[in-house]
Amino acid sequence: MADISDPAFQALRQSIHDTPSLHERLFNLTDPDDFIAAVRQLASIQGYDLKEEDVRQSMHTGRKAWIERTRT
């Protein structure tokens, strides 16, 4: 879904998807700044320097896809 095509980011997404205990914790971060910080921290643990602007851009893309979804 995200437009960050970096394999390291894809690996991070996959590892989050595969870890149910993270879903609730990250989902409950309703403030975008807190959420982005948490995701970047998880990336850092995996040795991946995830840029804040890239996360924001990807979140924007995800939001746009929701808004532009078609009913058919």
């Binding site: 879904m1 995200a2 149910p20 879903h23 971060l29 995800g62 009913r71």
Partner: protein
């Protein structure tokens, strides 16, 4: 609750066609519940969460089908069909107030699926979609109810094939009052041509006329309801004029609800307020709406709706005599 796995707490947010393939976007819902008047309000909130902006999952329908095998969801105990602006949302909110029920009110993913051709929208996929949306969200959840979009009355055969024997109700109202409501705040089905995805091809005379188109769609819905009552068992006709009392009596009996110990005071709090503007008190407004009907609405009602309404009323009253 289902055992924790990688998709625990995830639900289908929306369906779309990408690269000519049916695609499902899953979003995390966690412990949130469908408590808004419409599913879409809840889905909108979920989609706005940072997590679901960045980390939605995409899959084909295969994952939906596969997951339904292991997580079949709550049993569907009742379906609410309706003609719009007739008290059906009040009925859905009343069901939502039950301590053991999940209510899916006009879920958009189902609307999308029902417009897709087979095999994408076959019976098994419809069941699998409701299984994914209708997972228990509290320890006490035991049963699922579906309130469809009003135009889904034309899909009742498909839905009853997917969920055979499920009790269903058709909520309706004096069509003059319904049209007055749509004149003030038009529904989606007033957009000419908006129902073609559901197999409804409007006659030319309403193609440039939104209220006329709406009246024609309502005529199709009411006619389908009458035919469904003759074709299927387990149907109940409920007129707006019987609300809210009939929820606790007729609807509860029809859906097999045991209200003892469920707190009828709490349920009556729901029926005492407006279903879509929950800070506002609910009060029947038939007289006000009938008084507001102009000549155009009366003409449209005569042209498209009176006959169907009278036939439904005959069926309802005959049934009451028969049971009474």
């Amino acid at each position: 609750m289902t055992p924790l796995d990688a998709l625990s707490g995830w639900i289908p947010l929306f369906l779309s066609i990408r690269d000519h393939q049916p695609t499902l976007d899953w979003g995390y819902m966690g412990r949130e519940r469908f408590t808004e008047p419409f599913c879409q309000d809840t889905l909108q909130k979920l989609a706005s969460r940072p997590f679901n902006r960045l980390l939605r999952r995409q899959s084909g329908l295969d994952l939906l089908l596969e997951r339904a095998q292991r997580h079949p969801g709550l049993p569907l105990k009742g379906m609410v069909f309706h003609m719009s602006r007739c008290g059906s949302t009040l009925a859905a909110q009343w069901l939502t107030a039950l301590s053991d029920s999940v209510v899916l009110s006009e879920p958009e993913p189902l609307d999308t699926l029902l417009q897709w051709p087979k095999p994408y929208s076959d019976t098994e996929t419809v069941r699998a979609l409701l299984a994914a949306l209708g997972q228990p969200r509290r320890e006490s959840d035991r049963q699922l109810f579906l309130k469809t979009d009003c135009w889904h009355m034309v899909h009742i055969d498909r839905l009853l094939t997917a969920f055979p024997g499920t009790p269903w109700v058709f909520v309706y109202r004096d069509p003059v009052e319904v049209l007055v409501s749509h004149q003030r705040m038009p529904g989606w089905h007033l957009v000419p041509g908006s129902m073609t995805g559901h197999g409804m091809q409007p006659p030319d005379e309403v193609m440039n006329h939104s209220l006329g188109h709406g009246a024609w769609v309502l005529s199709v819905i009411m006619d389908q309801a009458r035919q469904a009552m003759e074709r299927h068992d387990n149907g109940l006709l409920l007129n707006y004029s019987e609300l809210p009392e009939a929820l606790e009596s007729k609807l509860a009996a029809h859906f097999g609800l045991d209200l003892t110990g469920l707190g009828t005071d709490n349920l009556r709090t729901v029926t005492g307020r407006h279903s879509k503007q929950r800070d506002t008190a609910f009060h029947p407004d038939s007289a006000e709406k009938r008084a507001a009907a102009d000549a155009h609405i009366l003409e449209l009602t005569f042209r498209w709706l009176n006959k169907h309404y009278q036939l439904l009323e005959q069926l309802r009253l005959n049934s009451a005599d028969h049971n009474g």
